[in-house]
Each structure stands twice: as structure tokens, then as C-alpha cells.
Amino acid sequence: MLAVVLMAWTNEKLCPELLPHQQNLVDGMLQYLKEQEESLISGDFKSAIVKMEIDRVRFIIFDLLRTRLRKIEQYPAYIIQKCQSDVDGGAVLTPEEYAFASQYLENLETHLKSEILFKLPQHIQTIDWDKAGNKPDLDKYVFMRVLEFQEGFLIEDEAEEARDEIIDLEPDSQHLIRFKNVSDLLKSEKIVLI
């Protein structure tokens, strides 16, 4: 289970976008940590090591949650919009995260409006989040390692010069590639970011 948590943590840290949530994993791990902590005998040498390990795992989980919160705070409008238009049911936000996101957005807009917008001329009193460009950078290049064999992976050419490449992704091979091309693979767990 620790390996899964580590993978989720590295993926979330390295990915420019907010990944689907793994609340079950987090819940399960926290429960396990609590049980471990309660079964410790204080002062014993072995329990000191166990306590260290508990602290380390707790750090990883907290950092995962913190990274997710940070991403939500950076692009709240984009994330909420994506969540509302997501039909396939792949939940990106937990209900609590969704509540946090919408409240954060509301607070932000209230502040900007009361501070500035209501004092400006009437016809420009709106915030256009699309134009503000508050979106994750999907063109960022990321390192990835392939877990499952993918045959015939199509990389579209952005400059439309008909230079589309079709490559085979061997397992355990490593690549440096634009994030946009592999975001689906990441979500279906066929690759991992490094």
C-alpha cells in the first residue's frame, strides 16, 4: 500500500493538472497509521523506528493533500468548470474539496469586486477568468516511465505540418514528452511520472 501512496504523491507533485482524487487510499492509510500509533509501546527501540516511519508516511499524505489544495487555489474557476462539465464520472474533487474550491472562488471574487470592480465604470465590472489565463500549463514537458505496453501511440504535431509520429511505448522505457499528450495515459495508470 505504501508504494501506491508514493506513486500517487509523486504523480500529483509533478503533474501540472489536478489528478482524480484517491480519497479511499488516503482514508485507508490514515486509519492504518492511527492503528499503528496506538499499538506502540513507548520507550522501546523498535517502536522508535516505527514512529519514524509513521511520521514519514504522515508527511507524504499531508503533502499530497497540501499539493491538491494548492492546485485548487491556483485555478479555482478552471477546476470548478471542468468538474461541472465532466460527464464520465471520473471524480477529480472530493465533495469537501469541491466545497472548499467554490467557497475560495466566492471569497476571491467578493474581495476583487468590493476592492476594485465596483468602483470602476459599469461596463467592465465583470471578471473574465478565461481571459485571465488562470489555467494549468498543459504544454509543460514531463518525464514519464511506461508501465504497460502501448502499441501505436499517436503524437500529434502542433504545428500541423503532417509530422505526426506513431511510436510504440515499451514497458519501463522513459520519455520526456509534453504533458497534454500523455494526460489520458496517466489517468488510466499506464504510465507514471518521474
Binding site: G43, F59, E96, Y104, N107, I116, P121
Partner: protein, 193 residues
């Protein structure tokens, strides 16, 4: 020239490093808003003239509109960047800000901060295990116990296993990391490497 005052706001932010906030520049902000409003009013007069058929005012209308848009963009950037910095301060200092930082915030920003605190606390409370404090454990633990030196007199401090430690100035202690972390962040203890 239009938009110069707005640039001053941005320069003000850039001059201060990322972890500090300059006092809210109320004067310049008000100036920029007034400038935008007056540009808009001047534009209104000319738009009416254009509607009556006189096309020669179009370039000046466009110029003023561009000026208004630029002012709006600079103002929004100023407000948004300050909010980002205040957010970072919450994670560094906790939910109570030191008075000199609080002095630099405008009223609306102070209100935003209170609301953000509430929002964050609500999320943390809803986490499994009866609520978790995510501001703990900000760095990966290197060892279980750490040496710390006390910087100010803090009186007696009870550790997890019941033993009481007397935190007098310049005394050194060897304590569990989880106990010290929040005191280190407050500045009462100092981690000795």
C-alpha cells in the same frame, strides 16, 4: 500618460520580495480608479457624438477604452498578487498574523483572510480521523528527536509522554520532532543542526 500610475502599483509589488507585503497603497489605487472613471466619462460624451453620425472620434474612443482596460488589468493583478502573498502568510504564520503585517492589509483583505481561515479550517475538519492539521509536518522528517535551543522564556512545556520541560532562555533540549515543530515555527525554539 494614461496607465502610468497603474504601473506604479505593479512596481511597488515587484520591489518587495515575495514573502512580504507592502502596505495597501490606497492613494495610488484611488487615483487609478478615478482616472479610469474620468476616461470612461469622456468616452461617453464622444460615443454619443459618434452615434449621432460623427465618426472622427473613433480613434480617441479606442485609446481611452484601451487605457481603462489596462488600468483594470493592473488593478486586478495588484489585488490578486497581494491575496496570493497573504495566502502564503497563512501557511507560514498560522491563523493569527503579527500586528505589523495586519497593519499592511486593507479592510477587504483582512475580511478575505478571516474567510480563508474559516474555509481552510472547515476543510481540515472534514478530513478523516476527526480533522487533521495540514500545517504540521511541512518538511520531511530527518530524525525522530532533534536538538533545540530555547530563544525566549516560555515557561513549562509538557511533552507527549508526560514529562515536563522547563523552557528557559538559552537552554537546550532534546525533544521529539512532532512536539517542537510548531514551537519552532512560532520562533520560540531554534533547531540546532
Amino acid at each position: 500618460m494614461f496607465g502610468e500610475k497603474a504601473l506604479e502599483l505593479i512596481k511597488d509589488l515587484k520591489r518587495h520580495e515575495e514573502s512580504s507585503i507592502p502596505p495597501f497603497n490606497d492613494d495610488v489605487v484611488r487615483h487609478v480608479i478615478e482616472e479610469s472613471n474620468s476616461l470612461y466619462e469622456q468616452n461617453q460624451v464622444e460615443v454619443n457624438a459618434v452615434r449621432d453620425g460623427d465618426e472622427s472620434f473613433l480613434p480617441s474612443i479606442r485609446l481611452r477604452h484601451a487605457g481603462v482596460e489596462r488600468n483594470k488589468r493592473c488593478l486586478l493583478t495588484y489585488a490578486y498578487t497581494r491575496i496570493e502573498r497573504i495566502r502564503a502568510l497563512r501557511w507560514e504564520w498560522g491563523s493569527v498574523l503579527p500586528p505589523d503585517i495586519r497593519y499592511s492589509l486593507s479592510e477587504s483583505e483582512a475580511q478575505w483572510f478571516t474567510k480563508y481561515n474559516k474555509c481552510l479550517a472547515q476543510y481540515m475538519r472534514s478530513l478523516p480521523g476527526g480533522g487533521l492539521d495540514l500545517t504540521q509536518d511541512m518538511q520531511p522528517p530527518k530524525s525522530l528527536y532533534i536538538h533545540v535551543r530555547c530563544l525566549v522564556d516560555h515557561g513549562e512545556f509538557e511533552t507527549e509522554d508526560g514529562s515536563v520541560v522547563n523552557l528557559k532562555k538559552n537552554t537546550q533540549h532534546y525533544m521529539l520532532r512532532s512536539q517542537c515543530e510548531h514551537l519552532i515555527r512560532q520562533g520560540i525554539l531554534e533547531h540546532i543542526i
